[in-house]
């Protein structure tokens, strides 16, 4: 089988990317493992989606449906119940399903949109027994919203990520008792609005700087102990609190799902997503990435925007019109997270012959207020933007106009106060002299 573009994953990223590629003149196949399109949004039945993109408040499935309808009305070919097993650097995709068996599709470009999975209890090494009743929050969400079953009665939640907080409310609404949410950080790791609407409004206590130090129960969870932690993340004796619960939900982060990317030889960046340039092209030409497989998004509206960008570029690439120069080592521009920045997408800029606007998305490590983003290259500030406040839970997105003459070698992205920056510049200049 042959086509212009194969999109792997039919979540919001895959749908928007596929639509953009199709609108830009490409023949598109979307491959989705599940029996329906929409990705993880199908189980996010709460509202709050689409405020940016549609300027109205939708539920997850409603947001997804808008794109599903557009895809259905388009010539895009969708393969459901089909898993992409592997991809090759020359754009072959191996797909498996029960009807056709194994199909090889030769494409001109590939868009990766596989989403992410949840970090588990084992990944953060929580001790105790291993009975039934310990779930990643997303799995509990699936049980309640898709399967229609209650996963327990008395719930303790570890991690104040968005999914955790939303599940605190969801469990409460279904008649379960949520005893509390424990969070290792000194602030909630999800959005402020979720803290207010999902915890505060229901009187669910949030224990900051706390973690679970023991889980009890042989067959089903019978209880758990949390304790406060010190600066070195060690539990402080005397601060233990015991909860009589039968369920523990973990909402401790998401990890981009990049097994097939890695197999194909794509380099992975520090945040777990593929290393991409300003066209969202991975380290393999003609293979693009967007959505949660690239970076974990807090808002699906940003997923859509990013995916459209990837879709347009993939279409251009497939038509031989995406002119990305292969930069020589001297022309290479690397983007580096600086002060208080966890990661930045893109990781590199491959083409800066003339002045152009480049979009950067990144997250801060610590919350701050009255602060600014500064892009620094060659010791000079080349772009500044103020923020009232920044939070690790909120992805920041900026568009910076870059001039070739301003940039050399690397761009450091800092989120700092003004005075601090002077020091950095001074330091760099001193080092150079």
């Amino acid at each position: 089988m042959e086509t212009d573009i194969v999109v792997i994953g039919g979540g919001p990223a895959g749908l928007a990317a596929g639509l953009a590629a199709q609108e830009n003149g490409s023949e598109v196949i979307i491959i989705e493992r599940d029996h329906e399109l929409g990705g993880i949004l199908q189980q996010c039945i709460h509202n709050g989606f689409g405020l940016k993109h549609f300027k109205e408040e939708l539920t997850g499935p409603e947001y997804a449906q808008r794109f599903v309808d557009l895809v259905k009305d388009s010539p895009i070919h969708v393969m459901l119940n089909s898993i992409a097993l592997s991809i090759t650097p020359d754009h072959q995709v191996v797909v498996m399903n029960g009807k056709q068996g194994i199909v090889h599709i030769q494409a001109k470009a590939i868009i990766l949109a596989m989403g992410c999975r949840e970090r588990t209890r084992g990944a953060i090494n929580i001790p105790g027994t291993r009975p039934a009743g310990i779930f990643p929050a997303g799995q509990a969400q699936r049980f309640i919203n898709i399967e229609g079953y209650l996963p327990g009665h008395r719930v303790l939640i570890l991690g104040s990520g968005d999914i955790g907080m939303i599940m605190a409310r969801r469990c409460t609404l279904e008649g379960m008792k949520v005893l509390g949410v424990a969070e290792v950080l000194p602030y909630p790791s999800g959005l402020k609005r979720n803290q207010v609407q999902c915890l505060d409004d229901y009187g669910i206590p949030l224990y900051l700087r706390h973690t679970i130090i023991d889980i009890r129960g042989k067959e089903r969870v019978e209880g758990a102990t949390i304790a406060q932690i010190d600066e070195k993340w060690r539990p402080i004796p005397g601060t233990e609190k015991y909860f009589d619960c039968d369920t523990i939900l973990f909402s401790v982060g998401l990890i981009p799902e990049n097994e097939i990317s890695v197999q194909a030889g794509i380099s992975i960046a520090r945040n777990g997503g593929p290393d991409v340039n300003e066209y969202l092209q991975t380290t393999l030409p003609g293979i693009f990435a967007c959505g949660n497989v690239l970076q974990v998004h807090d808002l699906v509206d940003f997923v859509t925007e990013e995916a459209q960008h990837a879709g347009e570029n993939a279409a251009l690439y497939a038509q031989g019109k995406l002119d990305i120069p292969t930069p020589s080592p001297e022309q290479k521009i690397t983007i580096l997270p600086g002060e208080n920045v966890g990661y930045v997408v893109p990781e590199r800029i491959d083409g800066l012959q003339t002045e152009k606007i480049v979009k950067f998305t990144y997250r801060v490590k610590n919350p701050r207020s009255n602060i600014r983003t500064q892009l620094v290259s060659n010791g000079k500030v080349i772009y500044t933007r103020r923020h009232k406040f920044v939070l690790p839970s909120e992805m920041i997105s900026i568009r910076a106009k870059l001039k070739p003459e301003d940039v050399e070698g690397e761009i450091i992205v800092n989120v700092i106060e003004k005075e601090q920056l002077v020091n950095i510049i001074e330091r760099t200049m001193m080092e150079e002299n």
Partner: protein, 492 residues
Amino acid sequence: MNNNIYDIAIIGAGVVGSAIAQRLAKYELKTILLDKEADVAMGTSKANSGIIHQGYFTSKGTLKETLCLRGSALFNELCPQLDVPFKRTGALFCATTKNELKTLEGEFKNSQERNAPAEFIDDRGKIKKLEPLLKESVIAVLHFPEAGILVPWDLTIALAEHALLNGVELKLQFEVAFIKKNDEIFTIHSSEGEKIQVKTIINAAGLYSDKIAKMIGDESFNIIPRRGQYIMFDKHSLNLQKILFPTPTVVSKGIVVGPTMHGNFYVGPNANEVDSKEGTNTSIKGLNEILTGGSKLVDLPLRKHITNFAGLRASTLRHDFIIEPSKQDGQFIHAAGIDSPGLTSSLAIAERVEEILQKDCGFTFSKRTQYIPTLSSQIRMENLNEEELKSKIAENPQWGNIVCRCEMVSEAEIVEACHRQIPCTNTDMVKRRLRPGMGRCQGGFCQAKIMKIISRERDMLYEKVTKTGGKSYLVFNRTKNLGSEIFNGDHL
């Protein structure tokens, strides 16, 4: 006498009880294997290092020494016969100080006396070749090329299935509560009021073997549980070649960094006596201890762990296996106090029990006429090439439906597991057979789907599908009082 009376009842379907059952299945005997849990290998046999040892650091003249080496040798034939994956990776005991080096030299001599192939190496270049990941601080190693690894529950399940294939009966969720004897016949009573009549009992109840012994008035030993904790790491996060041990101390063999059959690796176990025979919980202290221990040999990758767990050694003050008829009753045979290297020794323990039955219990065995010598394991998608997989899917579309994407398990495989000799009736049973839930997502994506398959294939209400049997329910009532149902659809 009626024919409801069994010749032999084996209490405990761990690796030891299952090995005994498999051994005895060769003969025309009416044998039953009993366990209190919903599956075999639910006790210590599911939480250990899975190493096939070579008699090293065992005391001279002990059963542990002899049975360990004999047991290891028996795997050469058994593993291909029962289709159990097994790999002789080799093990390295590592010395970082002069004193440790001396200890290893001493053990090298012992190994030669035992006829266990071993090699003492103090050349850094050669050490590096054997295991490039070892730290520079390791100055000498004692290499046992024959040491190997297998998945302990793979072995136990295969042994039990093979026994079943040849006429042994298996009764799960049968917790032995007390035992009576009348006219040379034992009656074993379960906690649910069921009864089994039998001539000879084999006590292979692991941590509870002392409790079972006391049921016939035998108080000759007590089991002291000694816990060992582990941390399991993601696939391909460290490409280990060898099983790495520090130099053992008098107290324990030390914290191992070892590869698994599936490309993961683990660190552990430590060793602490605990009060409870159910105390398989891990602790912050224990997990820190094993991370520190493991870091002495290699640089451990950060944040690549996927789970932690613990197992309990059934140790006794005899410091050796107890494999003998009870002083209380000659028709009651102990296979008790089987701590490490019990997995390695299991086949040899079974051989020893067979001898005892013949010599001391007056059994004359006649070979089973319709004995089936081999067992075929389930066909696994991961072992099929593209053409084979294509024809499988053409036959049955469920082969094309991936349920677990971390470990690549298809619906067809899970359906088969629900209908094998020991049918899977809970999600952990499926996990131990096919690995969905053992990967990096730890079941977050596939558990709900596996519950549906079990519900459909075993005709069970969805909410009655448990994690490990008993009351380990995963979900309870339905939202909006939707009512209970058995899943019978195609979309998982």
